[in-house]
Symmetry: C2
Subunit: 223 residues, 2 copies
């Protein structure tokens, strides 16, 4: 194995074993390079790679640190990878989202508190009667993110965030051509919120399914 890959594995090992904890600072480049037995250039390649997937955080003039390693950082790495996939796999991503989103909504139904419900309602109200496509998509993303956060599973939250990215992008690209898509989306959001307010788990799950399915159907017809 190449020295750089070795270095990646060693740094990974130091973190996984607990020798390096989240927030810890790594020895400076030259020292770490000497310690691992390679040149600074090669070490930098390893550090850069781990930095791309948010394992390390390098700050010029300061040092290199281990990130929080929150599952949330999984999101960014995931969405980066997801960006490389073309339209033909977007439907597969959406199919996965169709599985996760209703489940997350159902989980949220039992856990979401009144303050969060009010915040959701306020967010929907904040959207004007004739929103732009960008506004609508941003609102949609935020609406679902808040609900999933209420489900209390950060892995699930990050995953859905990463999966929603490409869908959203596809939607913006295509420009939401369907006439009634806007009003239908808003109506479905209201319905989901209503089910959450009623603590009606099955209704929440069903509305979430309908919501994703309608996006899927639209995407399939325009793709």
């Amino acid at each position: 194995m190449a020295v750089t890959d070795e270095a990646i594995e060693k740094i990974k090992g130091m973190i996984v074993s607990g020798a390096l904890r989240p927030g810890d600072r790594l020895p400076k480049e030259s020292e770490l390079a000497a310690e691992l037995g390679l040149s600074r250039n090669s070490l930098r390649e390893a550090v850069r790679a781990l930095s791309l997937i948010r394992i390390l955080d390098v700050r010029q003039g300061d040092g290199t640190y281990v990130t929080s390693l929150d599952p949330q950082l999984l999101l960014e790495a995931l969405s980066f990878v997801v960006d490389f996939h073309r339209d033909d796999t977007v439907l597969e991503f959406l199919a996965v989202r169709r599985i996760l989103e209703p489940a997350a909504t159902a989980m949220a139904c039992a856990r979401i508190d009144d303050a969060a419900l009010d915040a959701l309602g306020a967010q929907l109200d904040a959207l004007g009667p004739r929103p732009s496509v960008e506004e609508l998509v941003a609102c949609d993303l935020e609406f679902h993110r808040r609900i999933v956060q209420a489900a209390g599973n950060s892995v699930l939250c990050s995953l859905l965030d990463g999966l929603s990215g490409p869908t959203t992008r596809a939607r913006v690209w295509r420009g939401l051509t369907q006439e009634d898509a806007v009003s239908r989306t808003l109506h479905e959001h209201r319905a989901i919120l209503g089910a959450l307010r009623d603590r009606d788990v099955e209704a929440a799950r069903s509305w979430a399914t309908v919501h994703i399915a309608s996006v899927e159907q639209w995407l399939r017809s325009t793709l």
Copy 2:
């Protein structure tokens, strides 16, 4: 933004825009570096980072190529990230798997063909009466992978593969302390296979849920 990050974005852009297609060969280091306006060392950092997440494939003495970009490569990058998460988040990963696995099993129920069913049965039969923990875990992993593959969604398949990794690892670490865990696992596998054979979607989904839930319960009690 740093020159290396710029280079990463530019290379990403070349791939996403279609200027570079899967399997294409990149210009050699020195040329690409000149083209992007940076040094070879900095370019190498960018290439190394993209290589870690399986976007690029560098072959010494040959050249640097764009990988197939199959969703399957998402798997490896994901599992690499997942490795960094400690036991306390394993339950969250398992909760997500508990959502996905039953859905995938249900999808497979409608699509799996007889040959695949026979292969599943043969695989279960191949396991001896007193398998080692490693054998059992490997069998479990393979069993579920085959089913999920039959579901026909490569994104879902890769995702579950990545999620199953840490669970499996935790299971091996803990050594499957529960006495009847082995026989119960085998029994549940048989039940899932039986439901698939009967084309009984709801039974398949339920058995898959029970299966994951039992792992979850066990993990929760030993953690």
